[in-house]
Symmetry: C2
C-alpha cells in the first residue's frame, strides 16, 4: 500500500527563501503569515493529510461512490468522518475572507495545503476544491444578500459547492447549452435541463450542496452571449439561513469512470429547480470564468500532487527492491543483488519526476503569490503586473503540470515493473486519477489555445513581454560563475521561446491554424522556461546559502543536483517544441476529414 510524506520542508523553503513571504507582511492577510505560523499550519495540514486522507485513498478508489434508489449518494467509507475533521479544523476557510468567517491567510499558503490534500487523496480533495471554486464565483458576482446567505456556511465547510457547465451534447462549446431558466414573479428562476460530469454533484458529506449552474433565460440569444449563472441549492435556504425543502435537482446516475472513484461524478437532472440569478443576465460565462480560472490553478496542483506521491512511492520501492547488479559492479556485495535504485535508467525516471516536482511546486506557489498580489498589492501597477503574470501562466500551469503529472505517475508505476500494474500496490490508481486532470476545467488543448489565442495578445502582448523582461533580467544579472551552468541552458530555452513567440506573431495572424497547430508545443515550451526560471532562482539561493554556510547544507546540495539535472536533461526539449511550432499548420490540416 502506498504511503505519503508531505514535503513541508520543501514548501517552507519556497515560501521563505524563494518567495520571501515575510517581505509582504504589510499586506492584508500577510501580517499573520509569519514563517512560524505558516510552518505550524503546514505541519498541522500534513498530519491531517497523512493520517486521515491517505489511509482512505485506495479503499475509496476500490469502493467508489454509491447511488441509492432514492437518488441519494454515499461517498466511500471514511470520507464522511474525514470531511467532518476537515470542517472542524476550519480548513475550508483557510484563505477565505474573514468577513464571512474565513481565516484570511494568503492563497499561496492555501496552495501548499491543497497539494498535500491531492497527494494524499485526490478524490477527496475535489469536494472542498469545488466548494472553493463556488465561493470564488459567489464572492465575485453575487449580491450581498446571497453572499450573506451562502458564504458563511460554505466557508465553514458545512455546505459544499459544485459547478454545472457540461451537458451531454456540449462541453467546450458552452454556447450550445440547453438548460432553461424561466423567471418567476418572486424574482427567482425555474431551471430545467440535464448536466453531466458534475463532480461532487451529490453526496452525504455536507448538509447542503450549492450548485452554480449555467442556463439560458427564455429571451436570451442562443449563443455564448445568452448564458446566465444561477445558484441552485440542493435544499432551499430560508431567510434565517435554515435548510428547508428539497429543491428540484437530483442525481440521475453516477458515471463509471477510469479513476477518481471516490468522487461522485453525477448526471444532475434539473426539473423545475428553483435558482437565483448571480450577477448580470447573459453574463454568466464571465462569472463562470472567475471560478474556472481559480479552478485551473487547482487542477494544475493535481498534476503536481499526484506526481509527488507517485514519485515518493517509486523511490521507496527502488530503494527496497533487490534485483540485479549495478552496471559498475556490486553495490551490495553481501546480498544476492543490489537495490534497483543503483540503475541509471531507474534513477532517470525518478529524477525526471523529482526535477519536475520541485520546480513545479515553486512555480505553483509563485503563481499563488501572484493571485494574492493581484488583489492585495499596494499599487495599481503591482496589482496589474501580478494579474498579468498569473493570467499568462494559468493555462501553462494547468496544461503542463497535468500532462507532466500523468507522465511522471506513469514512469513511477514503471519503476515497480509488474507490481506497478497490480491494484494492491496502488501505483496504477495514481495514473488513473492523474488522467482526468488533463481533461477537465478545459482540456489541455483548450489551455494551449487560451495561451496562444488569448493570453499572448492581450493588451498588445503586455504580459508576455513583461515576463520575458523578468526572466531575461535575471539571466543577465546571473550569467557568470557558478550560476552559468544554470543560466546558460535557460538562456537557450528562453531564446527558443522568444523565437517561437516571434514566429507566432508573424504567422498566427495570417493564418490562425498556424497558432492552433503550434499551441500545445508552445504551451510546453513556455512551461519549460517557467520551470527553468524557478530552478535558476532556487540554484542561486542554494549556492548563496552554501557559500554563507547557513542552513542545511545537504538540502541545498540536493537542490543543486536536481537543478542541474533539470537544466541538462529536461530543458533541451525546448528545441523540439520550437521545431514543431515552426513546421506550421499545412501538414496538420492537409488530410481530408474522411481520410482519417
Amino acid at each position: 500500500m502506498p504511503t505519503y510524506r508531505a514535503p513541508v520542508k520543501d514548501m517552507t523553503f519556497i515560501l521563505n527563501e524563494l518567495l520571501k513571504l515575510d517581505s509582504f507582511n504589510d499586506l492584508p492577510g500577510f501580517e499573520e503569515a509569519t514563517p512560524d505560523l505558516v510552518a505550524a499550519v503546514l505541519e498541522e495540514g500534513a498530519k491531517f493529510c497523512e493520517n486521515e486522507l491517505q489511509p482512505i485513498n485506495a479503499s475509496g478508489d476500490h469502493e467508489g461512490c454509491t447511488r441509492h434508489d432514492d437518488g441519494s449518494v454515499s461517498a466511500p467509507k471514511g470520507f464522511k468522518a474525514a470531511y467532518d475533521t476537515y470542517v472542524e479544523g476550519g480548513w475550508q476557510g483557510l484563505t477565505q475572507s474573514p468577513e464571512f468567517g474565513g481565516q484570511g491567510l494568503p492563497h499561496v499558503v492555501g496552495f501548499a495545503f491543497e497539494e498535500m490534500m491531492i497527494s494524499s487523496n485526490m478524490a477527496f480533495a475535489m469536494y472542498p476544491g469545488l466548494t472553493a471554486g463556488a465561493i470564488a464565483a459567489l464572492s465575485a458576482v453575487a449580491s450581498d444578500e446571497i453572499k450573506q446567505k451562502y458564504l458563511p456556511k460554505m466557508i465553514a465547510g458545512e455546505w459544499t459547492g459544485t459547478m454545472n457547465l457540461t451537458e451531454p451534447h456540449c462541453g467546450t462549446d458552452l454556447g450550445m447549452i440547453r438548460t432553461k431558466a424561466v423567471p418567476q414573479d418572486d424574482g427567482s428562476y425555474t431551471l430545467s435541463g440535464t448536466k453531466i460530469f458534475i463532480s461532487a454533484g451529490e453526496h452525504d458529506l455536507s448538509e447542503n450542496i450549492i450548485h452554480l449552474v449555467l442556463a439560458k433565460t427564455p429571451d436570451a440569444p442562443d449563443t455564448v452571449k445568452g448564458i446566465s449563472l444561477f445558484v441552485v441549492p440542493k435544499f432551499i435556504v430560508g431567510e434565517d439561513g435554515s435548510v428547508g425543502d428539497r429543491n428540484g435537482v437530483s442525481c440521475g446516475s453516477i458515471e463509471e469512470k477510469m479513476g477518481i472513484h471516490g468522487n461522485s461524478t453525477c448526471v444532475l437532472n434539473y426539473d423545475g429547480a428553483t435558482g437565483w440569478l448571480l450577477g448580470e443576465k447573459n453574463k454568466g460565462l464571465a462569472a463562470m470564468f472567475i471560478m474556472m480560472n481559480a479552478a485551473r490553478l487547482g487542477v494544475g496542483l493535481q498534476g503536481l500532487g499526484l506526481s509527488e506521491v507517485a514519485y515518493q512511492n517509486a523511490a521507496d520501492y527502488a530503494r527496497d527492491r533487490i534485483q540485479g547488479r549495478a552496471l559498475t559492479g556490486a553495490k551490495n556485495p553481501d546480498d544476492k543483488a543490489d537495490p534497483i535504485i543503483v540503475h541509471p535508467d531507474v534513477r532517470r525516471m525518478l529524477m525526471d519526476a523529482r526535477a519536475f516536482n520541485e520546480g513545479a511546486r515553486a512555480l505553483a506557489l509563485w503563481g499563488g503569490l501572484q493571485v494574492d498580489l493581484a488583489h492585495k498589492a499596494k499599487t495599481e501597477e503591482e496589482r496589474q503586473l501580478a494579474d498579468d503574470i498569473v493570467s499568462l501562466l494559468t493555462p501553462v500551469i494547468k496544461g503542463v503540470f497535468t500532462d507532466q503529472g500523468y507522465a511522471n505517475a506513469t514512469n513511477a508505476q514503471q519503476v515497480l515493473g509488474g507490481h506497478g500494474y497490480i491494484r494492491e500496490w496502488g501505483m496504477e490508481q495514481f495514473v488513473r486519477d492523474a488522467r482526468i486532470a488533463m481533461i477537465y476545467e478545459g482540456t489541455n488543448g483548450i489551455q494551449a489555445l487560451d495561451l496562444v489565442g488569448r493570453k499572448l495578445g492581450l493588451n498588445g502582448g503586455r504580459a508576455v513581454q513583461t515576463y520575458f523582461k523578468i526572466v531575461g533580467g535575471f539571466l543577465k544579472d546571473n550569467g557568470d560563475g557558478d550560476m552559468a551552468e544554470f543560466t546558460q541552458p535557460l538562456s537557450k530555452a528562453l531564446k527558443d521561446l522568444q523565437s517561437a513567440t516571434m514566429w507566432l506573431m508573424q504567422n498566427g495572424m495570417k493564418n490562425p491554424d498556424h497558432a492552433g497547430a503550434a499551441a500545445t508545443a508552445y504551451m510546453h515550451l513556455m512551461g519549460l522556461v517557467a520551470l527553468g526560471f524557478m530552478w535558476a532562482q532556487m540554484a542561486k539561493i542554494s549556492l548563496e546559502a552554501l557559500d554563507a554556510g547557513t542552513g542545511d547544507a545537504e538540502f541545498y546540495q540536493n537542490k543543486l543536483i536536481t537543478g542541474r539535472y533539470f537544466m541538462a536533461r529536461i530543458l533541451p526539449e525546448s528545441g523540439t517544441h520550437l521545431a514543431k511550432i515552426e513546421a506550421g499548420a499545412d501538414m496538420v490540416m492537409a488530410l481530408a476529414a474522411d481520410a482519417f
Copy 2:
C-alpha cells in the same frame, strides 16, 4: 462503444509494394504466399477480428476472469466460443511448421493478423500469443519425442501455452528464482514453487495448458547459470497423446490489474508438479530467450494495435462531435458548430498517431520478414544479415512501439474530452490495456539496456554498422528532387543517431552508467530513425506510383501527407534525445539513494 476496421489495405500495400513479398517466392513458405492468397487470408482474419473478437472486448474488460473455489478459472463471456472459432479457422497454425500440422505461411503474414487481433481484443489475443511463444521454445529446444507429444495439439490450438518466469521476489533478475525441480527416477522432475503474473495461466478455453517453467535443479548454481527450462502440462499427457490426470499445478489467485481484465493473470502454485526438462540442464535462460524474443516483437505489435484502434475511434468521434467553430471561420455554417476535426490541435493528436501507426506497421512487418529470412534465406550471409537486423531492432520495436502506443492511446482518449474518461466510451480501456505492454516481457528500460548494452556491441558492432549502411545508402541514392523533403530530415536524424552511437562507444566503455543513463533516449532515437526510414521508402513508392499514374492516387497522396507530417513534426525529437544522451550519467547518479 468502440468499433474497429482492420487496415487490410495498408497491410497489403506494405506487403506487396514495400516488402515485395512475391520477390521471395522461391523460399519455403513464400511460394504459397501470393498477393491473392495473402489478401484472402487477411480479409478472412479481418472478419474474424471485427465480428467475433471486437464485440466481446469491452464486455470482457468489464466482466474479467473468474476464479472458482476449486481453482478453475472462467474467461469472460463469449471468449470460449470465439476461441473455438479461432481453432476451427486454423489460425494458431497460420505460420507454424507443416511438419506438425501448421500452414507454414511466412511470419510476416502472421504479424499482420496479430495486429488485427490485438486491435480488436488484446486480452483475447494474449491467449494464442502465449501459445505461439511456447511453440517457438519447444520447437527450438525440445526433444523429438516431446515435440511430437505437444506441438500438433498446440499448433491446432487445442492446447494453449504459458511462460513462467516471474516469482514474487524476482522478475528481471531471474538468477534469483527459487522454484525447485527435483529429478525423478523415470527421467521426469518434480517442481515446487510459486510463479506470479502468469498470463493465460488458467482458463476454460482449451483442453490442456502447457506451462513452460524456469526452475533450478538441486545441484544447480544459485545464479542465472543454474536455471533450467521445464515443460509442465496442466493435465499429464499419455504416450498416445491422450489427456490424463491433473498435474500438481494450480491457480492460487487471479491478480487484480489495471487492464487486460479478459486475460487471466494467475499466481500459479507448483506443488509437486511433474515436468520434463527442455534442452540442456542449466541452459534454461537461453531457451527462454528464444521464446522471449519472439514474444517481444509480439508485444511491440500490442503497442501498434492499440494505437491503431484508439486512433480510429478518436477520428470517428472527431468527425461526429459538433462543437465550436474552426479558427479560420465556420466550416459547417448551417449547423450550430463545426465537427472538432477542423481544429489543428485535435488533428495534431490524430496525425501523431496516424504517422506512428503507418510507420510502425511497415517497420513491424519488415521485422517480421527478417524473422522469416533469418531462417529461410538462401545464403548464410543473407540469413545472418536478417538475424542481425531483427536482433538489433527487437528491443526498439518492443520499447518504442509500446511507449508510443500508450501515448497515442492517451491522446486518442483526449480527443473525446470528458467522454474519454467514461467507461462506456471504451477509450480508457485502450489506455489501461496499452499500459502493460511497456512492462511485461522485460520492461522498456530493460529493452533499452539490451539495445545499448548488448545489441550495439555484438560482433564488434556489426549489426548497427550494417544498419547505418543500409539507411545511409538509401539516403544517398534519394537525396534530390521530390524525395528531398523526406530524406533531408532523415539524414539529420541519422546523423544524431550516429553521433549518439559514437558518444556511447567513447563513454559507455569507460563508465557503464553513461550507457545506462543514455539507454532509453538512445532506443527512442533509433526508433525515430527506423520509422523515418520506413516513411522515406513509402514516400518513394508513393511518388513513383503517382508519377506512373498506377493504383489509387488518393491512397498515395495521403501517404505523402502523413509522411511529411512525420518528417516535420515527429522526427525533430531526435535532437532532444541526443542532448539527453550527451548529458551523461553524472547528474543521474549524483543524488544519494536515501535523498530521493
